[in-house]
């Protein structure tokens, strides 16, 4: 996003939070349970109406956006998805094309987008399988494919790598980093502080509904901040590219 920014402040669970996101890049939102990370993300996604203060996207209040127009800009990956009905993986991804569809059925262009999104998330192998029979990690990648099929400029992800094995965790973050280099703004809520340290361009640290640190990895993920916010003993080591590698709970 170039001329865009998201501003917002003051909610019950969150208070006095002011953040601007005005460049492409990967921002990790970290903090202990109950810090308000998911709430922050759902407000940014326009899914909560009861917030105070303001939350603007491209200068316009999120709640004032037409839902369909907003969905063409911003897509949201929920924490985990349980389905009552037997949709196939491909059908779940096709749902991401909704903001671009007018007729009852999707167009060939939609099918191309879906194919592309499923290819880069490595989900084509089980495209015709029932979503409910997939493993947690496979589901998470299918949901991510659905969000990418939406061709968003901004991608909001709530714990995208939680159920993934090591290889797919790293691949998801690599994929997000590459997309961000091409101009995507991605906001990732995560518990994995080392993945955040390895891939994020910026880290926002929340505790008790307040921003306690905000900035590049090296200045936010410090021994002092992590041990204070999480209440844990931590050791800082040097990882790749001068990024920190954090050992905790020792």
């Amino acid at each position: 996003m170039r001329d865009a920014g998201i501003r917002f402040g003051g909610v019950e669970i969150l208070s006095g939070v002011s953040l601007d996101f005005d460049a492409a890049g990967l921002t990790a939102i970290v903090g202990p349970n109950g810090a308000g990370k998911s709430t922050l993300l759902s407000i940014l996604a326009g899914l909560r109406s009861g917030y105070t203060g303001e939350c603007r996207y491209k200068g316009r209040e999120v709640s004032a956006w037409k839902r369909r127009a907003f969905a063409r800009e911003v897509s949201f990956v929920p924490q985990s998805l349980q389905l009552e009905f037997p949709f196939t993986a491909e059908q779940v991804v096709f749902m991401g094309r909704t903001p671009f569809c007018d007729g009852l059925f999707e167009s060939p262009e939609d099918a191309i987008e879906v194919e592309r999104a499923m290819a880069i998330t490595d989900t084509l192998r089980f495209r015709h399988r029932d979503f409910g029979t997939l493993s947690g990690g496979e589901r998470q990648r299918v949901v991510l494919a659905g969000a990418l099929a939406q061709r968003p400029r901004t991608l909001l992800l709530d714990e995208p790598a939680t159920f993934l094995d090591l290889k797919h965790q790293v691949e998801i973050y690599r994929l997000l980093r590459n997309l961000c280099r091409e101009g995507l703004l991605a906001l990732v809520v995560t518990h994995d502080i080392n993945l955040a340290a390895a891939f994020a361009d910026r880290v926002v640290m929340l505790a008790n509904g307040r921003v306690v640190a905000d900035g590049p990895v090296q200045s936010t993920l410090t021994r002092a901040s992590i041990s204070e916010v999480f209440g844990l003993y931590v050791e800082m080591h040097e990882g790749r590219d001068g990024r920190p590698w954090i050992l905790y709970g020792g």
């Binding site: 996604a45 389905l83 196939t88 779940v92 009852l104």
Partner: protein, 329 residues
């Protein structure tokens, strides 16, 4: 996708066509195809004025109930939600019984019972929506539990009114306890079709939105759907369809449960396929059930609700068991 869609649609429409062509010729009195069309008495009268309107009514009712079932299942996100299990059918029947009992229908002609049935359905739906709104996030468990409760309260009230009523009224009330198909005037059928056709058609057109809603409200909202408006539309159309059918047939259960579930296992969850096919197959299913109801202890007739319950009850138990399996194993 499109190929599968047209195959499924053509198949289920063909099934309904075959059923509609054969069912009027089955019954306690045998009639001959050629004689009925040649206009020879009594075959012509039996075909045209007794059997055909009844088969048509069972078709519209069965299709409507199946579509309403799919709709409520998407709204509540639970395969056990139907007009019957949410208490909407019996709420509608209670409305009709009150109209009969308090003599509202005596003042004017027919539509009062119909309107009371629709009002009963709407009040029940409002109750369901209110219960849903209390907890902010509605749980399908709470909804179904309250639906079952509303169901027994309504049936108890109908029984209570039944004991208060005089002989003539009490006879009219019994048929509201278990739904049945009666022979109706063609003008009544036309009225029903005029209400149902646009409602069912509109529900089918919004198939993509029901898909998103059946995944989740946030899921749908994040993909550009105006969720609260969609939910309101869904509940209104669902109660309109249920109320209109119940006003003519009484509370018929299990059609909205069996048909959608059976089709979902064959066709998947896509509502754009599921909804129209449910209409056709639901129509065929109830027309067959009603034919069984007509001939099983001929010349006496059983209300069709008894037949659907006898088939649907065991099915419901099986569904509950298989659902539990998928949750815990």
């Amino acid at each position: 996708m499109a190929v599968k869609y047209s195959t499924a649609l053509a198949g289920s429409a063909a099934l309904l066509g075959a059923v509609l062509c054969t069912m009027p010729f089955l019954g306690s009195t045998s009639i001959h195809f050629g004689r009925a069309f040649a206009g020879i008495s009594p075959d012509k009268e039996i075909f045209l004025y007794a059997r055909l309107p009844r088969v048509l009514l069972s078709g519209i009712a069965g299709g409507g109930l199946a579509v309403a079932g799919v709709l409520f299942q998407a709204l509540v996100r639970d395969a056990l939600a139907t007009p019957f299990t949410l208490g909407i059918s019996s709420g509608s029947a209670l409305g009709a019984v009150m109209a009969i009992c308090f003599g509202w229908s005596a003042a004017t002609s027919f539509p009062v019972v119909w309107m009371a049935a629709f009002a009963g359905a709407s009040v029940t739906v409002l109750l369901v929506m209110w219960l849903a709104a209390v907890g902010r996030r509605m749980s399908s468990f709470t909804l179904l539990l309250s639906g079952v409760t509303i169901n027994s309260i309504c049936l108890a009230l109908i029984l209570f009114l039944h004991y208060l009523a005089n002989f003539g009224q009490s006879f009219a009330i019994v048929r509201w306890l278990v739904g049945g198909i009666d022979t109706v005037e063609y003008s009544t059928l036309a009225w029903l079709a005029a209400v149902m056709a646009p409602a069912v058609f509109y529900v089918c057109l919004r198939g993509r939105d029901w898909n998103l809603l059946s995944v989740g409200e946030d899921w749908a909202a994040a993909r550009g759907v105006s969720v609260s408006r969609l939910i309101l539309t869904g509940y209104l159309l669902g109660s309109l369809i249920t109320g209109s059918v119940t006003a003519l047939t009484g509370p018929i259960g299990f059609v909205g449960l069996i048909v959608p579930h059976a089709l979902r296992t064959r066709l998947g969850a896509d509502h754009r396929i599921l909804l129209p096919c449910s209409f056709f197959v639901g129509a065929a299913f109830l027309a067959i059930c009603d034919t069984i109801a007509r001939i099983v202890i001929a010349p006496t007739e059983v209300p069709v609700g008894v037949i659907t319950a006898l088939i649907g009850g065991p099915f419901f138990i099986w569904l509950l068991r298989s659902k539990r399996k998928s949750l815990w194993l």
